[in-house]
Symmetry: C2
Subunit: 190 residues, 2 copies
DNA sequence: CAACTTCGCTAGCACTGCTAGAATCGCTGC
DNA sequence: GCAGCGATTCTAGCAGTGCTAGCGAAGTTG
């Protein structure tokens, strides 16, 4: 069985190599720069190798997206844990989310902008996605009041998502970002 | 001057023809189907003609986006005018905005998702964009309280934008849409 | 009616995601 | 140690993309 396992290990390693290369290339030069040729050159294999691991470019992006969600979830968790009280947690988590989207636009796009056939709002969604959403939900729990927590979280998430994307594409003035965040938090914290 | 004006008129007509064809094709089959070849065939000219009118495909999308904004502004204005009181106006305008995005996904994408080099949050922004934003602003004015109206409007817009895009791409459950809208409106109406 | 200007078209470039089939590698049994 | 065999990787190519150089055919002007 040794040969078999070694092959599987190598295969898994190369799969990670692909995802990592795709992600780094995207973060450095944007997704437009991530062509199958370029990516193949980066991992020092030929193009068809990519297709032995993933169904296509979109599947690679989906893998990157899952990785990104895991990272986002970790960042949110840390920030939430380091906050003194629900109000501070809400503000910190919101700022953290927005900062993440702003700091890693390509990664954020793969996660939440690019149309990708990942199951999202279902039990079959990859764990990292559910964890990231769970962080938001736990942060909002103290502020739910009579609202359904799940629905409230989706709404708050929507607002954060809008803030990130509209600002990043230059549709809203960057210099108002902090004030918009403040407004959002104030409106959602009672 | 007659020949000159006739030529300009013909040129303007063809420009409208291009924009209309692009828009209809996009709404019918999505932006992926709007290739320069396909579009050229649709208007019964050859490809290079497109480039005598627009710098490239993005510029055509931008023109479609401006048209879409004019339409959105008109819809919002009508709905707002037909509302009895600020609270109803807020609910109606929000629902109208979301409905617009959901009903015309391709058009909405050109306006607010696709990266396009239109000036947005500046005085030089095309009138339709400013009008659409103005409708939102006027709707929110009664609820500004101590918040800056411009900032508040941007924040509310972000939330609506997030609701539309995240739901449309399947990242949030469609069946919660009404409840999310209700939560958003309640949180922003005091 | 000839010269000219303007304009749209044909043909083609460099690139994209993706894939069939050849070639090469490493493992296996003799 | 080596021939044969499978699995795997590569070469080469397809059909499509946005975009453009330069030719040819109009319509316009003297």
């Amino acid at each position: 069985m040794s040969i078999q396992t070694r092959r599987e290990r190598e295969r898994a390693e190369r799969e990670r190599l692909i995802v990592t290369a795709a992600r780094e290339l995207a973060e450095a030069e944007g997704w437009d720069a991530v062509t199958t040729r370029r990516l193949a050159a980066e991992i020092e294999y030929s193009q068809p190798v990519l297709y032995r691991h993933f169904k296509g470019k979109d599947a690679i992006m989906a893998a990157v997206a899952v990785e990104g969600c895991a990272e986002l979830a970790a960042e949110l968790r840390e920030v939430r844990a380091g906050s003194a009280g629900p109000a501070e947690a809400l503000a910190n988590v919101a700022a953290c989310y927005a900062g993440f989207g702003d700091r890693r636009p390509a990664l954020y796009d793969a996660m939440f902008t690019h149309a990708v056939d990942l199951p999202f709002a279902t039990p079959e969604a990859p764990a990292p996605l559910r964890e990231a959403f769970g962080e938001l939900r736990d942060t909002l729990r103290p502020f739910a009041g009579e609202d359904d927590l799940e629905v409230l979280t989706e709404t708050f998430w929507s607002a954060l998502h809008g803030l990130v994307t509209l600002m990043r594409d230059g549709r809203m003035r960057r210099e108002h970002h902090e004030r918009r965040l403040a407004v959002l938090i104030r409106r959602f914290s009672n």
